[in-house]
Structure formats: C-alpha cells, structure tokens
C-alpha cells in the first residue's frame, strides 16, 4: 500500500510538472511562431506610424536605460548603507523589510503615484514620468541584491583593510564593493530586465507615441504600451505587429537574463 501510494504520488507530481511545463511551452511556441512570422527588416527601420517598431523599441530602451542609470547609484548606496553602516539594529532590519515590501508593490499603483505627482501637475504624459515610475520599481531590486551580495563578502577582508589604516569609505569602495562586483552587476541586469518588460506603470505616465522621439519631456514611445494597444486593435496587421513586438520584448528580456546568469556563473568558478 505504501509503495502504491508512493508510486501514485511520484506520478502525480511528475504529471503536475508536465502540465505546468506544457502551458509554458505553449506560450513560448505561439510567441515564436506568431512573432517570427511578422519579423522583417522594416520592423526595425520604420516607426510605428509606418508599420514598424523602431521608435517604440528605442523609446523603451531609453526609458529603462535612464531609469537604470538613476537607480544604480541610489540602489547600491542604499544597499551599502544597510550592510556596512546599518549594523544589526532594528531600524536597519525595518528598512530592509520595507524595501522588500516595496519590491513587491503592484506596479500599477506605482503608476498611479507617479501620475499624481508628475502627470497631474504638468498636465501631460511624459518620458520623465515613465522614467520615474521605472526608477521607483527598480531601486528596491538593486538594494536587495547589493545587500545580499555584500553580505557574502568575508568580514576578514574588511578587517584587513581597516587594520592597514584605510578609512571606512576606502574599505567599502575598494575592497567590499570590488569583491561583490559581479554579483551586483547581475542584480542590475536582472533589475533592468524586469523594468524593460513593465507595462502597467507606463500606461498613463509615459503613454505611447507613434512617432520618433528622443525628448523625454514629452509623451514618449513605449514598446510595451504599444503592444497592449496593438493587440487590442481589430486590424489583423496591427495584431501581427503586436506579436512581433511581444516576441522582440521577450527575446530582449531573456537575453539580458542569460547575460546576468553568465556574469554570476563566471564569478563563481
């Protein structure tokens, strides 16, 4: 009886795994077949208004990129503070928890927040509003990974630095952060991958535009928002373009993730 139950259980959990993987494979399959069907050079050379995706891809990368550049110093510094200066006090622990809570806050709520503080006062959607929303989303992720990575740095290294008379600042920047560099880089790449695929916080902060634009002060083209708009249009050609965009977006996210993984694996060896 025990053996039969055991066999049943093993079959069940393998079957559950198969069912889950089946759905995920199904999604990837449709994504590839639909996305590749519409892939051509003109997608990269035309703007959305001419049936291409050039402006929205560049727009998405620009917003995510600027948000990342703003997020890196803030996130890393906050991580350093928690690990190097905070000690084990209650306040530090509380800040750490808050940052984690922040990391899982619904992205649409971040969007409403930015809408209230940027879009309402300025009266129109803008690239900067989108950047701010993405920035708020990614800072806690960078804080978390920096914090975790610095924790792995052996205390002896810090002590050695302090023993030869280096200041805390030197120890932190030249020894601790250097030691944890690869891990922090991975964290940044993963955070970048996360925000590049975000739609909800951009819907009414950056909006999306059909035209080429590099002016963050104005309504800004966004790939994800455009995918949402395209996919809900009645026109088949537009839906096709949406699938192509979805395929490209997923490809970008996966490539960045793999890069991040590669960086952390190389370190471990």
């Amino acid at each position: 009886m025990r053996l039969i139950l055991n066999r049943l259980f093993l079959i069940f959990s393998s079957a559950a795994a198969l069912v889950g993987l089946f759905f995920l494979a199904w999604i990837l399959f449709t994504l590839c077949s639909k996305g590749l069907a519409g892939l051509s050079l003109s997608v990269f050379t035309n703007d959305l208004i001419d049936g291409g995706l050039r402006n929205v891809i560049v727009g998405q990368l620009m917003m995510s990129g600027v948000a990342t550049f703003m997020g890196i110093p803030v996130g890393i510094l906050a991580g350093i503070y928690l690990q190097e200066y905070g000690g084990n006090s209650k306040t530090t622990e509380f800040m750490r928890d808050l940052s984690d809570v922040m990391m899982s806050a619904p992205s649409i709520v971040i969007g409403t927040f930015v809408y209230a503080i940027v879009v309402v006062p300025t009266g129109h959607t803008s690239g900067w509003a989108g950047v701010l929303a993405l920035f708020i989303l990614m800072v806690p992720i960078i804080v978390r990974t920096t914090d975790d990575m610095l924790k792995l740095v052996p205390t002896e290294l810090r002590e050695a630095g302090i023993a030869i008379g280096a200041s805390k600042y030197h120890v932190t920047m030249n020894i601790v952060v250097r030691y944890a560099k690869a891990g922090i880089l991975t964290g940044i790449l993963l955070a970048f991958a996360r925000v590049i695929g975000e739609t909800a916080p951009l819907l009414y902060t950056s909006g999306s535009s059909e035209f080429w634009s590099t002016d963050l002060g104005d309504t800004f083209p966004s790939l994800t928002v455009s995918i949402y708009n395209l996919a809900t249009m009645p026109d088949d050609e537009m839906v096709q373009l949406g699938w192509t965009g979805a395929f490209l977006l997923t490809a970008m996210v996966l490539v960045i993730n793999l890069l991040g993984r590669y960086a952390s694996n190389k370190k471990r060896r």
Binding site: R2, L3, L5, N6, F9, L10, S13, S14, A16, A17, V19, G20, L21, F23, L24, W26, I27, L31, V74, G75, L77, A78, Y81, L82, Y85, G86, M95, D97, L98, S99, D100, V101, S104, A105, P106, I108, V109, T112, F113, Y115, A116, I117, V120, I136, P140, V143, S167, K168, Y169, T172, A193, G197, E198, T199, A200, Y204, A231, A246, L249, V253
Partner: protein, 328 residues
C-alpha cells in the same frame, strides 16, 4: 569624504522608505474627495458610474438594494447586508449637506470581488502544479533533467506579464470557452492565466525552500525505510514549511496586483459573475482602462481604488515577510 559618503548612503536608504510613505500619502490625498464623498461604504457599493437621484433618500436606498444582483453565495449575502447599513448611514450624512439632487455613484465592490476571486482561482490552479514542479525538480528528476528545467523555469518567471495576457486573449481564452462554454474573456480565464503566470515564480521560490532541507535528514529517513512520499511529506515539507508558505503568499500578492495579464482577459465589465465564465472586472484593470479618461471626482475614485489595492497587497506582502520569510 568619509562623512559625505556615509550621509549619501544614508540618504539613499531613507529614500526607499520615503518613496513608500509618499506613495501612501499621495494616494490618500488624491483619493480624499472620493473618500469624503463615499466613505467606507465605497467598499460595499456595487454600482459604478450610475446616476442616483436623491430626492427621496429612503426610496433610493431601497432601489439600490433591488439593483444588487442576487447571488447564492452566503458570503456575498452577508456583504450585501453590510452594504445596506452603510447606505443608510451615508444617506443621513448627505441630508445635512443638502447638495445637488443627483450625483454619480461609484462603488468598488465589483472590482474588489473580481480581484479576490481571480486571485483565488489562480492560487487553486497554480499551487498543486507549482508544488509538483518544485518536488519534481528537487527530489525526483535526475540532475541531467533538473538543471536545465530549473533554469528554464527561472527564465520563464522573468517573461513580462503582458505576454501571458496576449496569449490568454488569443489562444487560451478561446480554448477555455470551448471546454467550459461561455465567453472567451471571463473570470475563469483571468484566474487561470494568472495562475499560469505565477507558476514559474512560485515553483522557483518553493524549490529554493526545499533545497535548504539538509540531505542528512532525508538520508536518515530513507535509511529507516521510508518511501519517497513519506520523506517528502514528513521530512521535507515540515522543514521547508515556512519558506513554501512564504512563496505562496508572495505569489498571491503578485497575482493580486497584476495588471497586464488580467487586462486582456477579464472583460472589464462592471457586473458580478453569475457563472465563472462571465466577464467581470478587477482593481488593476479598472485603473489601467479608465485612468486616462478620468478627471475630477471620477479620477479621485480611481485613486481610492489604487489605495485599496495598495493596502491589500501591502498587508499580504507584509504578512509573508514578517511571519514566514524572516531573513537571517
């Protein structure tokens, strides 16, 4: 230099806290007109954007009662009772103000119920599958299989949610409608798409929790002649319990606030579901769909909704963090 650096680091760390506090504060301030207008009865009001005549207040309360769709679910009936009481209260309030004769009533009950139901469906669907995957990867599969599948699962967890929504709209929705009948966009489809979306996330977290179980414990159990089921049931799960529950709650929080995967497939209709295959609405979807066209009171109402969502997910995540996933 030293001091500047420390201050800068401190400032950055407080910035995270500051943003969180500012979010709550700004949402509250923006929502205040709606909070003053509707009070807490907003939570139990099922109408949305309906004009209400307030010449005969008592009668209008009765009408409001008639308009509530009858649902067999006892929980909902309870909610409806609350709703009548609150309705009476706020009718009283408004008599004092003696404002205009008509006003537009907004209520959050439909999207709140839609959000909760779709999330619960998602959980029922994803928990067994994600646990199956986690157990399969850590205890059953040979290393050769477990490693690549594990990496694949983690990569899948990073796919943007809009992809899941699109797939749900064009492929999964019609597929479900064929099996269960009903619409291609519905509460059921939304719940299942959400479930599929959180599966990789939940499976990856649970696998991590399971892999913290020391081999020694498992080997001792095997040495006593326990079967794999017994080892997993009596050794692995109890040991990794808090991590697994934490992963489930985090997934719950993620499903609760998810916008894009649901926006495509829930339908965006303000109605209670009679059957699970009916379209309905959820808070993030309301926010996503009507934010751009709103102003004045209707915008404030949306901020009120956002505040409710923020509070809901904040509580869920805080519970997960503070009780189950304490980091050492």
């Amino acid at each position: 230099m030293e001091l500047i650096f420390k201050k800068l680091a401190q400032f950055s760390a407080s910035l995270v806290f500051f943003i969180l506090a500012a979010t709550a504060l700004v949402l509250y301030l923006s929502a205040r007109p709606a909070i003053e207008e509707f009070g807490l009865s907003f939570l139990f009001e099922s109408r949305w954007g309906v004009e209400e005549t307030r010449l005969q207040p008592v009668l209008s309360a009765d009408q409001a009662f008639d308009e509530v769709p009858v649902i067999e679910d006892s929980e909902d009936v309870l909610l409806d009772d609350d709703f009548i009481d609150d309705e009476d209260d706020f009718v009283g309030d408004d008599d004092d103000e003696s404002s205009g004769d008509t006003r537009i009533v907004y209520g959050a009950l439909v999207p709140i119920v839609g959000t909760l139901f779709s999330t619960v469906i998602a959980m029922f669907f994803s928990i067994p599958i994600a646990m199956g995957i986690a157990v399969f990867l850590s205890e059953i599969a040979p290393k050769m299989v477990a490693k690549p599948v594990g990496v694949a699962i983690e990569l899948l967890a990073s796919i943007p949610s809009i992809i899941y929504g699109m797939w749900g709209l064009f492929y999964f929705g019609p597929f479900i409608a064929e099996i269960f009948g009903g619409n291609t966009v519905s509460l059921l489809v939304a719940g299942l798409v959400l479930g599929i979306m959180v599966i990789p996330f939940m499976a990856a977290l649970s696998r991590d929790a399971i892999s913290t179980v020391p081999d020694m414990l498992k080997e001792s159990a095997y040495a006593m002649g326990a079967t794999k089921l017994e080892v997993i049931k009596d050794v692995v799960f109890p040991y990794a319990k808090s991590g697994i529950i934490g992963s489930i709650i985090l997934s719950f929080g993620r499903a609760l606030g998810e916008t894009m995967a649901v926006a495509f497939v829930i339908g965006g209709v303000y109605q209670f579901v009679g059957k699970v295959t009916d379209p309905t609405n959820s808070i993030p979807v309301v926010l996503a769909n009507s934010f751009a066209e709103s102003s004045g009171l209707s915008l404030s109402v949306l901020f009120y909704l956002a505040l409710i969502l923020f509070a809901m997910s904040f509580i869920v995540i805080a519970v997960a963090k503070f009780f189950f996933l304490r980091r050492k």
